[in-house]
């Protein structure tokens, strides 16, 4: 291996940042990809009062669950375009063939994806919660659990997308792969909001969600990277 070649190679951090910058730029230029999941979240959440009951007491009961389910479905909808365009235009091959660990490139793509599709949902959730008459003591619990939970959903979804990116027609298979892994997050999130209404401490639930986030942050990109290598083989 010649030294001149090694010396001129970009650092893994530079490659990570280049990927992050590129994906954010693409999201910025393809605004509908960014806006669609968010609009979906708003629509699903607003349909519940119409479909079930506009009575404040009944809405207050279901508010946390509705918000969490809407966030989960929005995240599922957003997942589909995570690797697809890169697979089709050959950029994914280039990433696989870069000298850097695919883990970090996948992580950069996941972070950018969550910033674009997950964060807007988290930021809008208090507004929708207000519309659904969420008890006033639960806002903090809802916001914080979504903030910790939605990145977990994105990271888990990434594995499913990576496994299915090579398939022509995928239909429901992504949901079948992803949803079972997402259910614990949904349970932890909704339980946290419910239990804090009854006076329980929020810290324990946040610790559980935080642990889930750290575990997926360190392990899920590894699984996604392996799945991508298989998909493109």
């Amino acid at each position: 291996m010649s030294d001149s070649v090694v010396g001129s190679q970009s650092s893994t951090l530079a490659a990570f940042l280049a990927t992050l910058r590129r994906d954010l730029l693409i999201a910025f230029k393809k605004k509908h990809d960014m806006v669609n999941p968010f609009m979906f979240f708003l629509i699903v959440a607003t349909l519940f009062p119409i479909g079930i009951s506009p009575e404040p007491e009944r809405l207050a009961e279901i508010a946390a669950g509705v918000l969490w389910i809407a966030a989960l479905l929005a995240s599922l909808l957003a997942m589909d375009n995570l690797y697809r365009a890169d697979y089709e235009d050959g950029s994914l091959e280039q990433m696989l063939l870069s000298p850097h660990p695919l883990f970090f490139l996948v992580l950069a793509k996941n972070i950018s994806h969550w910033l674009v599709s997950g964060l807007p949902v988290v930021l809008a959730s208090p507004l929708i919660a207000y519309m659904l008459n969420l008890p006033s003591g639960s806002y903090q619990a809802l916001f914080l659990t979504l903030l910790l939970g939605t990145p977990v959903l994105s990271l888990l979804g990434s594995i499913g997308v990576a496994l299915t990116v090579g398939l022509g027609s995928r239909g429901l298979i992504l949901a079948v792969i992803t949803l079972p892994m997402s259910v614990p997050v949904l349970i932890a999130g909704t339980m946290a909001v419910e239990q804090t209404q009854n006076g329980a401490s929020l810290a324990g639930y946040l610790a559980v969600l935080g642990a889930m986030l750290l575990a997926t942050l360190s392990l899920a990109p590894l699984a996604s990277a392996a799945a991508l290598r298989i998909s493109i083989n």
């Binding site: 291996m1 010649s2 030294d3 001149s4 070649v5 090694v6 001129s8 190679q9 970009s10 530079a14 490659a15 940042l17 280049a18 990927t19 910058r21 590129r22 730029l25 693409i26 230029k29 393809k30 365009a85 890169d86 089709e88 235009d89 050959g90 950029s91 091959e93 280039q94 990433m95 696989l96 063939l97 870069s98 000298p99 850097h100 490139l105 493109i232 083989n233």
Partner: protein, 215 residues
């Protein structure tokens, strides 16, 4: 042609060898007992009819496809154990050229260089100008023709310090002048000590061209 071309790769000679490659796809044997060697200074053209496994062979060499038997030896050692070093010495342009349609040529190349060799914007603009894309640097790539997109992808070669170029049908969408330019580029890379593995049906006019025929 660019700074990458003017320097030669004198430090360690490049050598890649394939021994007894066997690949089967969908119950059909693409090639068996295929052996070839590629050294610095050589251009190896892989020829063969459609579906004879040219692209598969290239993907096997790059390490995208690991569904094969046989040995790949790089710099005298088994390649499978040293893919990370190998990849920093590899520039691959596939059938899908790796250009995002929404981004501009400049943004695409910034990303490509971020993955491989960091270079400044001036170098990228110079490479694009050399590929005949002056004035298109900031246009979104979906507004460019297929040949122009191919040229954006080929500009990566000008910016790369990799010694091995693996090119899958790089000539298909290029015009006559583009074909001549790419041939010159391959020739120069080889005479600077680099190695090229290329599939094409096109009759290449390159000195010392080696041909591998797949049947």
């Amino acid at each position: 042609m660019s700074q990458a071309q003017s320097s030669s790769f004198a430090v360690a000679d490049f050598s890649l060898q394939a021994r007894g490659l066997f690949c089967e796809r969908d119950d059909r044997v693409l090639f068996r007992d295929l052996s070839f060697g590629l050294k610095g200074g050589e251009v190896l053209q892989v020829r063969g009819s459609n579906g004879s496994g040219k692209t598969t062979l290239l993907r096997i060499v790059c390490g995208i496809n690991d569904n094969f038997d046989g040995e790949l030896i790089w710099q005298g050692k088994e390649l499978t154990n040293q893919y990370e070093d190998f990849r920093s010495d590899l520039a691959y342009i596939g059938h899908r050229v790796g250009i995002n349609k929404v981004l501009s040529p400049l943004e695409n190349l910034r990303f490509a260089c971020g993955l491989q060799t960091p270079v400044g914007d001036e170098a990228i603009l110079r490479a694009l100008a050399l590929m005949g894309l002056r004035g298109f640097e900031e246009s979104q790539c979906f507004t460019l023709s297929a040949g122009q997109q191919q040229r954006v992808s080929l500009a990566r070669l000008l910016l790369s310090t990799a010694r091995l170029w693996v090119l899958d049908e790089p000539f298909t969408t290029l015009d006559i002048q583009g074909v001549a330019q790419l041939e010159t580029l391959l020739q120069r890379h080889a005479s600077a000590g680099g190695a090229v593995l290329v599939t094409t049906h096109h009759a290449l006019s390159i000195d010392g061209l080696k041909v591998l025929e797949l049947v």
